[in-house]
Symmetry: C4
Subunit: 309 residues, 4 copies
């Protein structure tokens, strides 16, 4: 299935990176800048993430002896420093998720640079370490993101979806060799399409049972285990951090541990390992030089069909 | 899982509060003020709630020896007084759900005060008791709601979603100590995302089987039972009050009773209990002073990024 | 559960009325009047209904010894007279579903009268019998529909959703006694929310497995069987008429027959029975005088809150 | 069930045609012509199709000894020639899917002719063979498509949905006898409604488990096997080409092979067989002369109801 499986440490058959996006209520302010302050139900639903979800996730990780990766918008870190401190104390990775969950693809390069830097500084100040991993808010990685992230000293990203195994992302504006390690995401490993239903967030969906969602997530796990890929989920403390879903998560973690030969690691650990096996010549990853395109396709210019005839 | 489980009466492991929103056709008038009168199918579908659903639910409660909580918009009480009288006669709690299901977050404070008062008076007149519990229409609790509710003498609310256990909500405009007891809701305990499909109500969704929906609801029950939280659902007489779903509900109630060590109570009973254990010092709840924010975030001002550089 | 179960013939525990809406491509013309002619895929998908689905359904009915009710827009009967002739030859009921599937709630009374009459004439001409049963296109029964239908000589309707058992619908403009027999529909017995996914029809939904959909439909059947109601589905020949779903339908029919004590009947047969047991005094139905409202609610007038204070 | 089952080769009970639409990122450019270049996550998600999905699908076909049919927009072939070359080398059919995935129903006849020709040339140049099969982008087959396709020398199409077995499509502008062989598609055999969730593509859906989706697809297979039809799916390399879903696909293929008496073939092979059995007089297919309509229906003219009275 996978042409170039990674040589994982200790002969593990796959790598599992649990990641959490601690958006808290940044996304509500973004969706309703003028009246987020009067939508208290969604507000409280989202604040559940850092206040209730994060400590619970950290306890769970301790029970299972795992380290996870938390993506935190800078503003959320400032609003909920205690949640970030708990992550750090327990040895988890704190990575970047924008400043206010702003969408990079809607920004100029200067604006993206501003917010990425501001977010990085906020995380660094509270966690004590500059973040080295990144996921774009809503996966909206822009054509400028690679340069912005490399300039800020980032090591790895998990906003793209181009493979089953880690690969390298380079900027077309730079010489080859400067790259981000990409740990690809997949929508089917996100908890929004399974569990979120909320009008303020314009996301009106059926709500799946924990059992059904677990079937979706575990199908991906068994696939990666069988064929040597990387499993990177994207859960949210306000959502999967709720009790019934955490019981599902514990069941997932148990099943994964029981399966054996799995490397549970943070994103940074995986990225560093990937760099190492590349350097050692035992792994030859794909390299994507981006952006893939520049500007509007000529075929989509008005009148193209008529003029080309 | 839950850091501060409530000491429930008689050593119960969790509290279960069955609640129903008897919206009847108020929501159709709200959605289509000018032509709700000519949408008879949805009209009849919604009137099924007070006319068929409510008596059936009350019979079911009698069979199981349970008291439930009914949230009723004032206008609906006026339109369907018999349904409310049946609730009162059978000893259920009648609580407030706005007057015409209007959304508080779209109102000025004066308007919210007007409608809340009007709804309260309507309920009091028909039920004989001023309502002490509240759920905002469509969970749209506003930044003014806390003050409005405290001024009207309310004891408890279930519009917010900030925890797994009851907590206190205070107004930032008031001194600490005046508070509502919050019994948090969760979208996964609502019957709309599972069962409702209706074009007039702009809610076009797949319709789940009763068995599937029950799996969603019971996962939450087992979670609360295992870990000591409160289970507050939000069902609707027009929807779950239908026969096939009531058979599912009976199965749920049987399973819950068979599980044992469950405190089935109305919202008011739980709120009073929470006040008691707080006073006794045996429960220390979270306190949310709200609103969480006032106005637009400075970071979301136009040009903020440019000006801040 | 059901307060006033109908005394069904021969001691049957419930009545089952299989109904089909043979819309064919009328709905595509309605949705895209200007360019329906160039959307051939959806066009062919919908024409499958009368061309492939209807004969197959009729064969299936013969195998099971059942009579079904087909709702046909007049225009569809004119376009596909053979399908209607097959229904008539096999002894099924042909009932009315508008002329071009136009929505009555968007029409003036005169327009509704025009289209209802035109549809009735079209059906009568092709089927040889004036239709006596009616379902509004998209259940959009208007405030004028009762008068229009009574004037056209209709006996029964299945557009409303106000009960689990048949009831009577009267017009507020007429003296009591002139009524339609209502055999209530339910969205969960429709095949669109389970199976349809189509962009031209602006209905983008997940597609359920036949097994899952059957669980939804059979839950309703077991409920009606247990408690004495009427099961009226709303399937579509273009949709459930497809092979895999017809295999599901056969399984449903088998299970229903095996359950025993079920009265399988057309809508007209049920309506006549209901009239008979009412006349005999052995069934006392609810009577809804409609429309329920006339015009905009005073509470929804602009400024009502301010003026009423 | 099926009135005129096809005499399949070697007494097979049904034909199974696996087809893949290799859209890659053409659909993103079409949806966002001005800023597709800065939506890198979706871009990478879609490029996964030709880069990772296609080789994997080809390997899988080799393992099972099957030939599949790949629909490729001309532009995608130009962007990813290697993927097309791999298809050709392995003996699969390369068929046409527009040039840039443009929607024929939104084009004039001249424009459709231009893009269809351009796409055909692109495929022919890279694959070495003029494509003879066609699926309209998003099934948006226009009223001009038949003429355009016949003029370009196409043999068969699978954009329409009018039957369970192959049939013939003729143009009303031409004498009878010139026809396309139609191998009908069905939405329930598409992988988008089961698996795709993506905001950039304006397709916000729940994501099904592989097991659930397989139930949907296999129900169609068992139906066709039992009753002699043709099973033509529409999967996408970026979507079902992912590992977990390919494991599902392998399970499907195994089950189909184990069932026995199945003719696995490319679309072209089936179309040629259909022509042969028609010529031999052993199969008499339906013939659809299209378009079904020309222009707006008179009944939908403004004021029709009033003028016709």
């Amino acid at each position: 299935m996978i042409k170039n499986p990674v040589p994982w440490p200790n002969g593990a058959r796959c790598a599992v990176v649990f990641t959490w996006d601690m958006d808290s209520d940044s996304i509500l302010h973004l969706a309703h800048p003028n009246d987020a302050d009067t939508r208290l139900s969604t507000n409280s639903m989202l604040r559940y993430g850092p206040e209730i979800g994060v400590p619970r996730i950290i306890d769970t990780c301790r029970d299972f002896g795992m380290k996870h990766t938390f993506f935190v918008p800078g503003w959320c870190a400032e609003q909920f420093p205690k949640a970030v401190e708990q992550m750090v104390e327990a040895g988890h990775e704190v990575a970047l998720h924008g400043y206010l969950h702003e969408y990079p693809n809607e920004l100029t390069q200067e604006e993206e640079r501003f917010w990425t830097h501001k977010g990085t500084e906020a995380i660094a100040k509270i966690s004590g370490t500059r973040p080295r991993g990144y996921r774009s808010p809503w996966y909206k990685y822009s054509k400028h993101s690679t340069d912005v992230l490399l300039d800020e000293g980032f090591l790895w990203d998990t906003s793209l979806m181009g493979d089953d195994v880690p690969y390298l992302v380079e900027s077309k504006k730079r010489a080859s060799g400067q790259s981000l390690v990409e740990l690809p995401s997949r929508w089917q490993l996100d908890d929004w399409p399974q569990f979120v239903h909320n009008h303020d967030l314009d996301f009106m969906m059926p709500i799946a049972s924990p059992q059904y969602a677990m079937d979706v997530y575990m199908a991906e796990f068994y696939a990666m285990w069988e064929h040597g890929g990387v499993w990177v989920n994207c859960f949210h403390p306000f959502c999967t951090g709720q009790v019934a879903r955490m019981m599902m998560l514990r069941e997932m973690m148990s099943k994964m541990q029981a399966k054996g030969d799995v490397w549970f690691a943070t994103g940074e650990e995986v990225a560093l390992h990937v760099q190492k096996v590349i350097a050692a010549g035992t792994y030859k990853p794909r390299v994507d030089r981006v952006p893939f395109y520049e500007g509007r396709l000529p075929e989509l210019e008005p009148g193209y069909a008529m003029k080309s005839r």
